[in-house]
């Protein structure tokens, strides 16, 4: 197999072959995001709160998750979780779909990532906004839910986008435990063709992920600029200017 022998027809064939397996990628990314948002919110609350034990736990968890390679945590979850469930609840997990193991592993990382994102975006909303809302008669929880959180959400969009892209890239490691996503499918095809098309297979796989991440990146950037305060202010201004010019014309 040589780089000069790569055939375009094979590239297209394998590229099209891998696309349906993105549904597996979608599954573990969604599972990881769900875990990350729910528990990340609790962690972020712990980090911002006054309880020292919760704070220490949340910060310690984040530090540990930052230090463990994803492949090691994946193996730990894959071999450890069924053992724990077997020992504690006598439930056999060895036959469940492997996508759950990948989703849970990514979710564990994502809790740390999401809690950091939530914390920093919450802190980046000016404290005066909350104070202004409260002094205008909103209750504390109303002020947080109606004034602070929507702004924090908007600020967090680029980071959440990056987190999602990281998740779907890290998830390719699922092939090591036998998950058949597009990466697993690539290895399957390699075995089926006796490694004869190895270059074509990996080039199409790389192209698939490359295109996917570029599209996602563009999407999140568009969402961010659409929702950002400055662009909305501009919109309002142009609307106003339009109204004024209409009035002048009338």
């Amino acid at each position: 197999m040589n780089i000069t022998d790569v055939k375009l027809s094979y590239l297209i064939e394998y590229f099209l072959d891998f696309i349906p397996f993105l549904s597996v990628t979608l599954q573990y990314t969604l599972l990881a995001m769900a875990i990350g948002i729910v528990f990340g919110l609790l962690m972020a609350k712990g980090k911002l709160g006054k309880n020292r034990i919760l704070k220490g736990f949340a910060n310690g968890y984040t530090a540990v998750m930052r230090a463990i390679p994803s492949i090691v945590l994946l193996f730990l979850v894959y071999y450890g979780l069924p053992k724990i469930f077997m020992g504690a609840f006598a439930i056999n997990l060895t036959r469940i779909n492997k996508v759950y193991f990948v989703g849970i592993t990514l979710g564990l990382f994502n809790i740390a990532i999401m809690s950091e994102i939530m914390k920093s975006s919450y802190l980046s909303v000016d404290r005066g906004q909350y104070e202004a809302a409260v002094s205008n008669g909103l209750t504390s929880s109303q002020a947080i839910i109606r004034i602070v959180l929507p702004q924090a959400f908007r600020i967090s969009i680029p980071n959440v986008g990056n987190a999602i892209i990281t998740l779907l890239k890290e998830g390719t490691l699922g092939y090591t435990i036998g998950l058949i996503d597009s990466m697993g499918r690539a290895n399957q095809q390699n075995a089926l063709t006796f490694q004869n098309h190895i270059l074509e297979i990996y080039i199409s796989l790389a192209a698939l992920y490359w295109i996917l991440t570029i599209l996602l990146d563009r999407g999140f950037k568009a969402a961010d600029s659409k929702l950002s305060y400055s662009s909305r202010a501009k919109e309002r201004q142009t609307v106003k200017a339009g109204e004024i010019s209409k009035e002048v014309a009338a």
């Binding site: 780089i3 230090a67 450890g80 092939y175 080039i203 790389a206 992920y209 490359w210 996917l212 991440t213």
Partner: protein
């Protein structure tokens, strides 16, 4: 659930042998990528070399967009190919099969880290006012001197916390070298786990070793930050 503590201790000692390999790949990648990444950032931010800029932009997008394991698998096939083509074209007597796998791993990680750090440096370059370089040049320094004596020290100082995160990311990424059959910490644990069917224990040990390494790196960077800020205070005080 009971753990095999004896095996864990054995694996821990065995895995320590993998640390030099992990650190070697990390250190070479960082040392090579620091200057290369800086040059890449300058080219991508400047307007002088349009073609080089376009190529580097595409390359950076590739490194960012394609999962590391896919890059490793692809390059593991491509590098020997390209090497043999070069050897053939230049009539060099290189034995392709004699090149150790770790050489390919290091090459891939140098390329990856270069692109990765160039993103960091681009952000870092914006933190230093452009006027500083202009002032240095108008005071008689060459552009090279202006960068090495005025801009780069400041960029590096500003970038220390991010560089720390990047170094940790790099150390974690080297765990994927097992796919290139490089025997480092994770690969040793994988082999030991398979031989003794003690998977959980082996990977717990591996996780522990990575945690120790990453915390050490973090503390080294914190120490550097403290020293640098002390030095700046002394300079500011005159």
């Amino acid at each position: 659930m009971t753990l095999n503590y004896e095996f864990m201790l054995e694996t821990f000692v065995e895995s320590l042998k993998g640390i030099p390999v992990t650190l070697l790949i990390t250190a070479i990648s960082l040392l090579a990528a620091l200057p290369l990444g800086f040059i890449m950032a300058l080219v991508r931010d400047g307007n002088k070399h349009k073609i080089a800029k376009a190529i580097l932009d595409v390359y950076a997008s590739f490194v960012r967009g394609v999962p590391m394991i896919v890059q490793i698998m692809l390059m593991y096939v491509l590098f020997p190919d390209i090497l043999s083509l070069i050897a053939k074209a230049l009539h060099l007597p290189i034995d392709i099969y004699g090149v150790p796998n770790i050489a390919y791993a290091i090459l891939l990680f140098v390329l990856w880290t270069t692109s990765f750090l160039s993103e960091t440096f681009r952000a870092g370059l914006h933190t230093v006012n452009k006027g500083q370089l202009e002032a240095a040049v108008s005071n008689g320094m060459t552009t090279f001197q202006g960068y090495t004596r005025i801009v780069i020290p400041q960029v590096l100082t500003n970038m220390l916390p991010v560089l720390c995160t990047n170094t940790n990311t790099l150390i974690k990424m080297t765990s994927l070298c097992f796919a290139m059959s490089v025997i480092e910490i994770t690969a040793i644990a994988k082999i030991a786990a398979g031989n003794n069917l003690c998977y959980v224990e082996a990977y717990l040990v591996t996780a522990l070793i990575y945690i120790i390494i990453c915390f050490t790196v973090e503390n080294i960077f914190k120490f550097m930050e403290r020293n640098v800020s002390k030095k700046y205070k002394r300079l500011a005080a005159g």
